[in-house]
Symmetry: D3
């Protein structure tokens, strides 16, 4: 069993706000992350696939192919977008790093042609990141 | 003459759009940077001050003091904000990295208590940055 | 189950020296790390918490809260300090990266209000780091 | 149980090419990685050892010793070398990151004097890396 | 006057060897960099352009355009290539970082549509880099 | 004219304290940097040499030679040392980053065999650094 990782970067914005709560509760919970016009990040995404090496190629899965799968299923939908308005797979979901990470996992699960999706890690800032393993 | 640098990070969003141009021109010039809801970055800011060392302290300027000046004059106004709506010193200015960098220079010029503002560097992504020296 | 990580940095000094051993043995084991006046590092600390997402907030645990817990229980006690003299939770313990990492785990265990402390990673230099999972 | 990691860097070149396949198949699979004269990377290697702390030293294993083991068994054989021609432990093996990572694991397994080899991580670029845990 | 920088990465290999010198002299000067099959690096390239901001766009020069110019004139010629065999603009030149950096400058000079090429920086490893300003 | 840079890292400790001032003044100026037992950093040093390329070697100056000069004249004297007690060239000087940077410049000036010392940059933390150009 070997693990291969592809790292991608995208720029997006979001606002943390739960419409079921009052303005006061939102501000109490999310503080400046609830500012009405939103703010953004250079999100760093690391996708890990686990599996066996194909003896014919020496690859578990060509990282160029993994890159293409991530580009089509994730980056194309989130890069230079606003998570609260533009991203179909986040409709109705509060776009915390936790929820975005799971959303990205769901976009990728079932689309990896060799090996198995092992983890999705998402850095929101250089000090904060989340990881999901399904 | 010695140069001291303080690095700060802030998260903000922006949309590149010139209201004097047509939708087609904006899209041609700015491409996905003109998406209506905007997108964001973890901006990295480096402020350089040049001057002489004070023999009493061994400092050109206490970096904690420089940090405070940057926090009050820049970070407090831009962090978790949208450059097109929330930032007074960018009113009516297209928030490209170039223009934000000059805007930040103008916020800091005249507020450095020792030495002289030498340069402001602003990283928009890990691959793109701008620098202004007045 | 999701994993969230908060990264913090602190500057401290230490000396590696076992008082139960002779000078020669200390020098043999610790080499320049046993220099009498000590030396220091910019330690990088990564604290990982594992748990479920709260559907009301979209957070496992607000990273600002995790930051505050780390600041109060760890950073306030170690930043700009000497591990051999200033840090109560390292009294009588040789301050290797391994022992500091476990010391920090013990400071944090039981203080995480949601989820469960999963791991503590401590970088001593860009080439050396340790991790503890309880 | 504690985990300690040593990071080392080496510069090497390689060509991805399976001699059992046709030129067309090689180009289809490996694209520009099959260019005849090869290309290279600054590989970053992270070796993780797991074990118990020795109470006499406070170390699981002195990282200087781990560094020496990695230098002798890996770096001396691969640094400033071409994986297809110069590296004995890669003879007859397609030098993908996956296969190099396993090759390095095999060089180190059985040579760690305290604790147990836990994982070998190999970064080929800032966006691509692989990990092997035996 | 503002300075904008675009960073690009490429993987290449090279061998340091002066055919006008003896084997002994080459080994004395270049040591393991003269190994016959060559070795490689992930080169990091930073291209700086200086000029005035266009008030219509807020750009000195669209960084996407600068990226395209670098890709066509440099990256397409050097990425996944061997500097001693594959790169036309390095024919007959010893491919030290210094000479590659000047070679890249010459590829870009005269091709920047706005502003003026200010400097080319080339990182060969995380510890070694060179810069040329014409 | 070309510029070459060598980066080195060292771990040291220091205490900021001016013996000509009262305890109160020291605490006011240096805050936690004046803690009696000191604290430390992983200092990152970048030494830049400017000059012409030697056509015989393609080098301005072999970076291995520059590395050796830095090791002998700087690293050997400061690594795993306390600036207030162990470092001869800092005797009687308050070891701020500014003063250490100038001290290192003075250690290197006149010892560069080809080209000319151009600048010394010293990172004290990831957010604070100083530069001196003579």
């Amino acid at each position: 069993m070997i693990y291969i990782t592809r790292r991608e970067v995208f720029a997006a914005s979001h606002r943390l706000y739960n419409p079921d709560l009052s303005e006061e509760e939102n501000e109490l919970i999310y503080d400046k992350c609830a500012n009405p016009y939103g703010h953004g990040h250079n999100y760093i995404l690391e996708v890990v696939v686990a599996g066996e090496i194909d003896p014919r190629t020496g690859y578990l899965l060509d990282l160029k192919e993994l890159k293409k799968i991530i580009k089509e299923n994730v980056i194309a939908k989130v890069d230079h977008r606003h998570f609260n308005f533009d991203v179909d797979f986040m409709k109705g979901i509060i776009p915390t790093a936790e929820n975005i990470c799971i959303g990205i996992w769901n976009q990728l699960a079932g689309k990896i042609p060799a090996g198995k999706l092992h983890s999705v890690k998402l850095y929101e800032t250089e000090n904060n990141y989340v990881e999901y393993k399904g």
